[in-house]
């Protein structure tokens, strides 16, 4: 007999082993199968992504010595406001970090339609990760205060800046911030934008947020424009530390943008001028002021002052309240 035809069974065995091996790999890589709900799969894939790549922007771990409470400040995806369904296609089943970074939800135009719930499906940890109770050297957070936290509007214990901007009691009174108010996507190619035909042109190098967005509420107090003799901490006493002493009469269209609660701001401003000052110099990060759109008040005359020349007359389109567009 021919020895090569005698060993036909070896070939059959190899095929059977290959088929079984292939099925095994398939089921091991998809343990939930097709019956897994998308959200559970998203959570699973997020955990997997984070385990693979500890990206600075997506922290998942609290310090080992700070078992901080997590429930009080978190927004679950279900609690987050629902609006239009998103055109984005963030695949719930993907476990590929590189692929997730390039999902359409991270780019325009899909990011403009993204709700907080959409973002928090993968990024819930930005709200769940709390500050440390103590610094590595033992400094307790209850004993710490940034200089601008001495404003009357500051209350409660130290929180992360994400929590302060989204879930803190004061921000909820005066603003309707969402993830996309600040975040407008990023370029996976090292956050440099506008260099190729397929990339966004308005991104800031090495930043996830355009600092000009921050400048709206973290700029200097423009006392020169108001004709005040000095910054508010010097000249405020002459005005009884009351912004409305002048601005009750000098009124224009204020705070009519979709990320602010105009009525809430008016209410808080009447109660305490620190509510005004907080965003108009009291929490300044930068050495400049934001050039707000020019809305001359009745009786201001037709002359445009030097500081207001070349200013826009409307806010950025993405901040306009629906129906108020010119």
């Amino acid at each position: 007999m021919n020895t090569s035809t005698d060993k036909w069974w070896i070939g059959v065995l190899a095929i059977v082993v290959a088929v079984i091996g292939g099925l095994g790999i398939h089921f091991m890589s998809n343990p939930g199968g097709t019956a897994t709900p998308p959200q559970e799969k998203a959570a699973a894939s997020t955990t997997e992504m984070q385990a693979q790549t500890p990206a600075p922007s997506a922290p998942t771990t609290s310090a080992t010595d700070t078992p901080a409470p997590q429930q009080q400040t978190s927004i679950s995806p279900e609690q987050a406001p629902e609006t239009q369904p998103v055109a984005a296609t963030l695949s719930a089943a993907t476990s590929d970090y590189g692929q997730a970074r390039r999902d359409p939800i991270h780019f325009k135009p899909a990011i403009d339609q993204a709700t907080d719930a959409d973002c928090l499906k993968c990024h819930q940890e930005v709200l769940d990760t709390n500050t440390r109770d103590t610094s590595p050297a033992g400094l307790k957070k209850v004993n710490t205060l940034a200089w601008y936290q001495t404003l009357d509007t500051y209350e409660g214990e130290q929180m992360t800046f994400h929590q302060r901007h989204l879930t803190a009691p004061f921000i909820k009174k005066v603003a309707n911030m969402s993830c996309t108010t600040c975040h407008q996507g990023n370029d996976p190619r090292d956050e440099v934008s506008g260099t190729a035909v397929d990339t966004q042109t308005d991104l800031t190098m090495r930043k996830m947020v355009d600092p000009n967005t921050c400048l709206m509420c973290h700029g200097q107090f423009p006392y020169q424009n108001m004709g005040l003799p000095g910054p508010w901490h010097e000249s405020g006493a002459a005005f009884q530390n009351n912004c409305l002493l002048c601005h009750a009469a000098i009124r224009t269209t204020r705070h009519k943008v979709n990320f602010l609660n105009a009525a809430g701001i008016e209410q808080e401003g009447v109660a305490n001028s620190d509510s005004c000052y907080g965003c108009h110099g009291g929490r300044a990060w930068y050495r400049t002021s934001f050039p707000y759109p020019r809305h001359p008040w009745a009786g201001s005359g037709g002359t445009v002052p030097e500081w207001a020349k070349n200013r826009p007359t409307e806010s950025d389109l993405r901040f306009l309240i629906e129906g108020s567009k010119p």
Binding site: P54, A63, T129, T144, E191, M205, R206, H233
Partner: protein, 237 residues
Amino acid sequence: MANEAVPNNPILQDKATIKEAIKRHKKEVYTPVVPEQQFGFIHNNVDCIGCRACEIACKDKNGLPPGPRFRRVMYVEGGTYPAVYAYKVNMSCNHCAEPACLPTCPTGAIYKRKQDGIVDIDSSLCIGCRRCEAACPFGAPQFIPEQNIVSKCNMCVDEIDAGRKPYCVMACMMRVLDIGPIDKLREGNYATKAMAPHEKDKLVRQVKSMADPELTNPSIVFVAHSQGHVDKPKEPQ
């Protein structure tokens, strides 16, 4: 805060005194430190080959895990064939004249040195609120999730004190990265291999896609690529 009873423990009394002092300083603004001289970086965008040796040297010096990068080399590529281009922008902390990170820190962990203007962070005092990370227009503070703290470039302050240059500069095989007094670097009067004499006119304080330097007055100057120029480079004020 003010209504708390004064404790008997002297240490707690000190803390109460500190809190009262903070309250007295209400509405007083942070006054920027004016250093005796300001050190800054110069980077040649054109000659940099993007080897990232500076990044690795930095990570080595600071013992950084994967993820946080105090220094980052950014590849900028674009154009349409045949008019294509590529250059590199290399930034770490820019040790700004008026750093945005500093006043945001609730623990006082961030400080600016009087003698050379270096902005340093004492991470052992950090509670991980990440405000500095949000405030910096140049992405310098880096969150380290394993420790839940923020850390950043301090221009290898120990090397500076020892009379040497930072690890990133020493590791640069192309000599396109250097440090020096920022006023002399801006004027092009500082002897450095990062800039050829004929490149003095190409010095800029801002390149395309970089945040507005007016925000904090960063201590960095670039030899810019022709495609990296912003429309109207601003002079420092």
